[in-house]
């Protein structure tokens, strides 16, 4: 493999986000078009300037909900058509780590010249009824090996490696609660968050009944309706636009893991393949963990925070629970690692990587208002599990 040619060659130049709520009173597609227009205007552009569209349209539920473009998901194609754009590049990312994947597609399109301005969006929907509930009576294909035993859905999936971590390293529910309390503290300060004004204390966390030991509902991000959109262009074009550019330094995506049963994520797979994801990010960026001011780790389930902190090298494997419980990621402590300063998914709602990317963008563009962290220069936006998702590094400077 030759060197990563895209370092600092592409920049985020604008963004917009809808309020994150349990259910919006408007169709998801209508919301997405409004948010896209707002993001394009924020970047100082018009719809006619935007010729690239990328997203991942996944509806992240194990339940029996229909997938309808413009209603329960919004594809790049749907959005481009309904914006009235005349694009030259429209595509979707099919893997996990949906937002880093969609950003990578945008970077590649801009680097190749396939597009000059790319809109990256993510539209998340909370369908009516039980989010993960399924009435399936037959387990076919890969599901035949696990579903008849009752192993089904993401909460059971995360229960196994989390308990494996508890048993191996002596972590406790209090340690997991420390992750959630930090995310909710930060999310409570965000006007757009589902949890605005609603911090959670450790006693409330510990009082919640378990769903799949040791996971309780507060360990899971809350399904929501919400849309975010970001505009990316080349670093060269970004110079002429109104906002301070935030450069994409590098992106990384997890490589195939070991062959396993569906939804089976043994702890060693997460650590081993996750460390390779991080290595890819360091190699492509030329930077290391110590250079990063804002590693926004993913937290769709609270234990992901431990897994990312360890994969990125902020703690030795098996130590992240002590690091977090000891105040290591407290966003209010000078010198601590503000790993959930953007509220994450636990503190914002199930926006699948958006809170991480938004925090990197707002802070590095100097647009975080009264939350602005002085001197923040490099951030990382992570999504999904480190062995299964991806991450993008952003910088306020050309690196």
């Amino acid at each position: 493999m030759t060197g990563f040619a895209a370092r600092s060659k592409v920049a985020v130049v604008g963004c917009a986000q809808s309020p994150i709520v349990k259910h919006h009173d408007r169709p998801l597609g209508a919301l997405a078009v409004d948010v896209a227009r707002e993001a394009i205007a924020d970047a100082g552009l018009t719809v006619a300037d935007v010729d690239g569209f990328t997203t991942s349209a996944l509806l992240p539920t194990a339940g029996d909900h229909p997938v309808v473009d413009g209603v329960s998901t919004v594809s790049a194609n749907w959005l481009a058509a309904n914006l009235g754009a005349d694009p030259s590049y429209v595509t979707g990312f099919q893997g996990y780590g949906q937002l880093p994947g969609a950003v990578a597609l945008a970077v590649n399109a801009l680097m190749s010249g396939a597009a000059d301005h790319v809109l990256v969006h993510r539209a998340l929907h909370n369908p009516a009824g039980r989010y993960h509930g399924s009435a399936q009576q037959q387990a076919r294909g890969a599901a035949q090996w696990t579903m008849p035993q009752g192993y089904f859905g993401p909460i059971a999936m995360i229960g196994l490696p989390t308990n494996e971590y508890f048993q191996r390293y002596g972590a406790t529910r209090e340690d997991l609660g420390a992750v959630v309390v930090e995310a909710r503290k930060n999310g409570a300060r965000l006007p757009w968050s589902h949890w605005h004004g609603s911090p959670l204390d450790l006693d409330e966390y510990l009082a919640a009944p378990l769903l799949a030991d040791p996971i309780c509902r507060f360990d899971c991000d809350r399904p929501v309706d919400g849309v975010a959109a970001f505009v990316l262009t080349t670093a060269e074009r970004a110079r002429d636009l109104p906002n301070r550019p935030v450069y994409v330094t590098a992106y990384a995506g997890a490589q195939p893991s070991r062959h396993r049963l569906p939804l089976h994520w043994p702890l060693d797979d997460i650590a081993e393949v996750g460390a390779a994801t991080a290595r890819q990010l360091w190699e492509r960026s030329g930077l290391g963990a110590d250079d990063v001011d804002l590693p926004q780790v993913y937290d769709g389930f609270s234990p992901f925070v431990w897994f990312w902190l360890e994969a990125l090298g902020y703690c030795p494997v098996g130590e992240a629970h002590r690091f977090v419980s000891g105040g290591g990621i407290d966003s209010d402590v000078l010198g601590a690692l503000p790993a959930l300063s953007g509220g994450g998914a636990l503190g914002s709602g199930r926006m699948h990587g958006v809170p991480q990317m938004l925090e990197c963008y707002l802070q590095l563009a100097g647009r975080a208002g009264d939350r602005q962290r002085e001197g923040a220069r490099v951030g990382i936006a992570c999504q999904a599990s480190p062995h299964f998702g991806g991450a993008v590094m952003y910088s306020s400077e050309v690196m």
Partner: protein, 138 residues
Amino acid sequence: MSGPVPVPDEVSAPFWEAAADGRLVLARCSRCETFVHPPEPVCPHCHHTDPRFAFEPAPTTGVVRSWTVIRQSFLPGFNVPFTLLDVALDGLDDLRLIGRLAPEGREPPEHIGEPVHVVFEVPAGGGPAVPSFVLSEP
């Protein structure tokens, strides 16, 4: 409403036939002789595109690598709570099975590494027998 029952297919039929007789057989690649679970169109070990999996008797003892107690089921037909085990079969380090802890109501393990052995149970909702695990007496 009953729970989901496994639907055997062309490849998996021998597994479910043996399970009905209380025997654990697993797919073994006829090219590299590695046990593979679940079987795939291409052998995940040697990557042969015509692995001609044969279902052969597999070890029926193993150790607990992790567990979780399911207290809210997202599927119909399951009485909660029940415990699911992540088990590494003896001699097949890189192969894992996930199954219920039997009998129903049994307390979960206390430690990872506890020995287990395979039993077959007909799920509450009926259908073919599926492999479950019993904690072995020390």
